[in-house]
Subunit: 168 residues, 2 copies
């Protein structure tokens, strides 16, 4: 199938309606999805959204969150079907806005890189003009600084009620 064929198939879907009216998670996700071992190791699972797992990167240096679509065998955003892509965008934008409000950040960095872990995952990092790497990207710059138990509890207490309300 060429790009052009794929485009017309994807684009033929009606994208004008609200996403969640008729969509259930069963339509969006793969039953055989398994979270990549490296992501499992470096993160803390916070929530299951309709499409994505929401992970907190275990690095207290930055408010750094990762969305992983629960779809098996996908490494690029464009490999998702159009409905999944829209849902990813929806979850990403809601998450971004919540994070910027809760952490009062200067800038949101959103990125699908995947040079090391091939499973599609979308980074969301709240950046501050005062942070250690500003204005450089954070990836690969320094070792992760794991959260202490009380830091993690505090972060969850601050964030989860708002996330739960927004994604309810």
């Amino acid at each position: 199938m060429t790009v052009t064929d794929k485009e017309s198939n994807e684009m033929s879907n009606d994208v004008s309606n609200d996403l969640t009216d008729e969509v259930t998670s069963d339509d969006l996700i793969s039953s055989d999805f398994v979270l990549h071992q490296q992501l499992k190791q470096d993160t803390i699972e916070l929530a299951d959204l309709p499409l994505c797992k929401l992970l907190l990167c275990n690095d207290s240096a930055y408010p750094w969150f990762i969305l992983v679509p629960k779809v098996a065998g996908v490494g690029e955003i464009y490999q998702l079907d159009w409905q999944q892509q829209q849902q990813l965008l929806n979850e990403s934008s809601l998450l971004s806005e919540v994070l910027m409000q809760v952490f009062v950040g200067d800038k949101m960095n959103v990125a699908a890189l995947g040079n090391v872990v091939e499973q599609l995952h979308l980074h969301h990092v709240v950046r501050f003009k005062t942070d250690a790497q500003w204005p450089k990207p954070i990836w690969g710059q320094q070792a992760l600084t794991p959260y202490k138990a009380d830091e993690l509890s505090s972060l969850k207490a601050k964030l989860m009620p708002i996330l739960t309300a927004v994604f309810a």
Copy 2:
């Protein structure tokens, strides 16, 4: 109306037949949008898509493209309205797939950073396991290597016919 506006409207009408029957570029973009001076300086304008300017970063080290929504005063994806966000996703995914096919890349890196240039812009970088920075992100790692005239002509000859067909 400038030539660019006219082209943009024509392209929008075609896309809108698939996306929704009522969308035109005029609904998506701001009449007072001005490309940020730094982006202007570091890139070569390739095309006007319905929502975005498509720019080529003037760095021959990587196939590195940037989409800039022609919307004034926006720094984050979630600040676009939902229709604009969907159109950005659509243009980004089509572009990503074309680039991966044309350049036969190993990985697409897509990122909205904006720590230096606050105007919303979405990087699309085709990565190769053999490239200078693999697997690290490319931003801020080395000085840009401007294209020579023949390299630029060759890139355009390879890419533009396919892009034009896909976005027609």
